[in-house]
Symmetry: C2
Subunit: 414 residues, 2 copies
């Protein structure tokens, strides 16, 4: 079936979902969870086929690990769906409301987008998560996963669709798109009018392509070249802990710090300790000469280092002369994801948070907190680095639009 | 100067605007208002040059009227700026906030977009309005008006820039782009990274081009093929008044009704009165045979009639067998702008508002109420017909993004 045909079916399903009650949607989520657990053997068997193919194709251990499903991971996916059932329904929330001077009753109400397209990497749990989040927010989902997860995704989506039908919801609320070529991505990007929003997740190349070529509105999820700025007024113990946690708590996530900026006034007191801790943690420091002065382990940093989202055990480090210089550096190299300041100065914190243009600005906290789960959203479909519609971690409300409902009694405009 | 160069200057100005207080921005608005009034003669003289050129180029009386400025209209523009100064500052509003279980303080705060591009038609008042709305919301404005208003816009923008400088705000917060060719539009559409959002206002062709070709995120303002559905349970007097007001209160706006759907049960009681009133108002009815049965004046309606936003003294009319059929008709032909139902049935109103997918759904009220002024927003930059970011009339909050500010005390992710 063509993507266009699938999108048309999704629209029909979306018409049903728009009026589905929370009770019905939650029943769907719980049925999906139960079905995943009940059909664990089938899912694991399909996943084994993907893993075999992956090994034959020379996929890295890290990718194979992300791809792998077992009983525990399937139970985790099911549990995530059960937890979504416990979240408030974003649909129907009155965002704004008033009675106008002429007596008209104005309400701005959250409504589903309709059809949401999601393009993602080789993580089968995203298939289940995205299907669940879309269902809860009343949207039909068009899922375009990775070809390396094709067998797993095919069975997962079949299980989810069967579960939906079991509770009277349309199977086409969740559909898997062909992942064997880029054609399905191209068709999805041109399905304006059928698909309401497209969320690309994955590498920078994919995201750039979608942003440039899609006529369907896109929510860009993004690259994170995140900085930690250690201010002159920082508590250096806290600064050390925040800097190291921001880099090493997990190396390859978008909210991992990739660059440290240290105020010159604290450089001599701070950098030796920092460099030692990073070395002990196995992190290679790419530093300017001012940084290298404190350790022979420092690799010279190029301009490109400061522009790089390493996603590895590497970090760039520079000394800056002022908060102004830190803000200017971040303006030049940052990607608008997460930027942190460590300082005990209220005025420095105020200035940094006001002037740094990013989805999230941390004060005395690790960059790793930029996350829907950490923010208490309960479910997350990605982290937006664009300014339109959603910025930062996207939970259920970010998967909705709004509609004005205006009620009168024969009101005419004079 | 190239658009790219102007956009770079706008970014610099935007950096100042992001931390400008409401007091400073309001002072700018009042200075702009005063300067417009003080320099009325200069503005009128420039406008006369546009009007002369327009007459020579054979512009219609309607367009010449929209283009014309006089003392009264300049005072009106100034007054609109003064009223904006009275509106709350959207920047800094805390949209969401909580203390997380680990003690992190989370706040989602409204921030300016940064640089906003606006492409619009030959109405010089939009130049002033857009500049004012952008300033109040902390955004730098790149204004691309019509070539037929080039002299007027040049002087208006010069006046506004002088006023900004007078209160210590950057002149480049408001810039006019070259309107002599489409090249500036093309350059603006490709200025991703420099321009944060693009708002095209004007004809369907322009909007389609921008939506399809822009890599800068777009807010689509739109075509309104708006319907009034007269339900079986309608109060027919109210229905008549709402239908006629929706079409005739102003003929050429996007929230004008272009199509009427009448439930078959009330067709015989309603249509003769409706057709007479429309005829008396000089409106040509394009109707199906069921409609034509009630009057010899009815012109046969084609499929294309139902798809047309007339913006003239024309309306399409059809009889429908049910509310379901009305919803299906609107789904097929509607443009997602404004749809109205006239009914005394609470269940019919509930179903119509839930199922019709549009920016605004009116119950027993004229479609003409979809308007930022009517909704009490105080300022409006256009009416969005897309679902991403803003839908319906866009006021000041719709010209902002948000930023998460997260404050801890050395918080680490475990």
């Amino acid at each position: 079936m063509s993507v266009t045909e699938q999108a048309k079916r999704a629209r029909v399903a979306a018409d049903d979902l728009v009026t589905a009650t929370r009770a019905t949607k939650d029943a769907g989520l719980l049925a999906m969870a139960d079905a995943l657990v009940a059909r664990t053997a089938e899912i694991v068997a399909a996943n084994a086929a993907d893993l075999d193919a992956g090994r034959a194709n020379g996929l890295s251990t890290a990718i194979l690990d992300r791809l792998a499903l077992n009983e525990k991971r399937i139970e985790d996916m099911a549990q995530a769906l059960r937890e979504m059932a416990g979240l408030a329904d974003p649909v129907g929330e009155v965002v704004r409301g008033s009675t106008l001077p002429n007596g008209l009753e104005l309400r701005q109400v959250r409504v589903p987008f309709g059809v949401v397209g999601i393009i993602y990497e080789a993580r089968p749990n995203v298939t289940v998560d995205a299907a669940g989040i879309c269902l809860k927010s009343g949207n039909a989902a068009l899922l375009r996963g990775s070809s390396s997860a094709a067998h797993s995704n095919a069975v997962l989506v079949e299980v989810l669709r069967d579960a939906l039908v079991g509770v009277g919801l349309p199977a086409d609320a969740v559909q898997l798109l062909d992942a064997s070529s880029r054609d399905s991505v191209k068709e999805l990007m041109r399905a304006r009018g059928l698909v309401d929003v497209l969320i690309p997740r994955g590498g920078a190349d994919l995201i750039r392509t979608v942003v440039e070529e899609s006529t369907v509105p896109v929510i860009e999820t993004g690259v994170g070249n995140c900085h930690v700025y250690v201010d002159a007024a920082a508590d250096l113990d806290k600064a050390l802990a925040v800097a190291v946690n921001s880099k090493t708590q997990r190396l390859s996530t978008c909210n991992t710090a990739e660059s440290l900026l240290v105020h010159v006034d604290v450089a001599a007191a701070f950098l030796p300790k920092l460099l030692k801790e990073l070395r002990d943690a196995g992190v290679t420091v790419h530093g300017t000469p001012e940084v290298a002065a404190f350790s022979a382990d420092v690799v010279p940093a190029t301009d490109e280092d400061f522009a790089t989202e390493y996603l590895s055990a590497d970090i760039s480090v520079a000394v800056v002369g002022s908060l102004d210089a830190a803000v200017a550096h971040i303006k030049r190299y940052g990607t608008g994801h997460t930027e942190a300041i460590v300082t005990d100065s209220a005025s420095a914190a105020r200035e940094f948070t006001a002037r740094v243009d990013a989805a999230a600005v941390m004060v005395n906290a690790s960059t790793r907190f930029t996350d829907g789960g950490q923010f208490g959203f309960g479910a997350e479909i990605g982290i937006s680095t664009q300014k339109l519609h959603a910025r930062g971690p996207m939970g259920l409300p970010e998967l909705t639009s709004t509609k004005y409902v205006v009620t009168g009694d024969g009101h005419l405009r004079g």
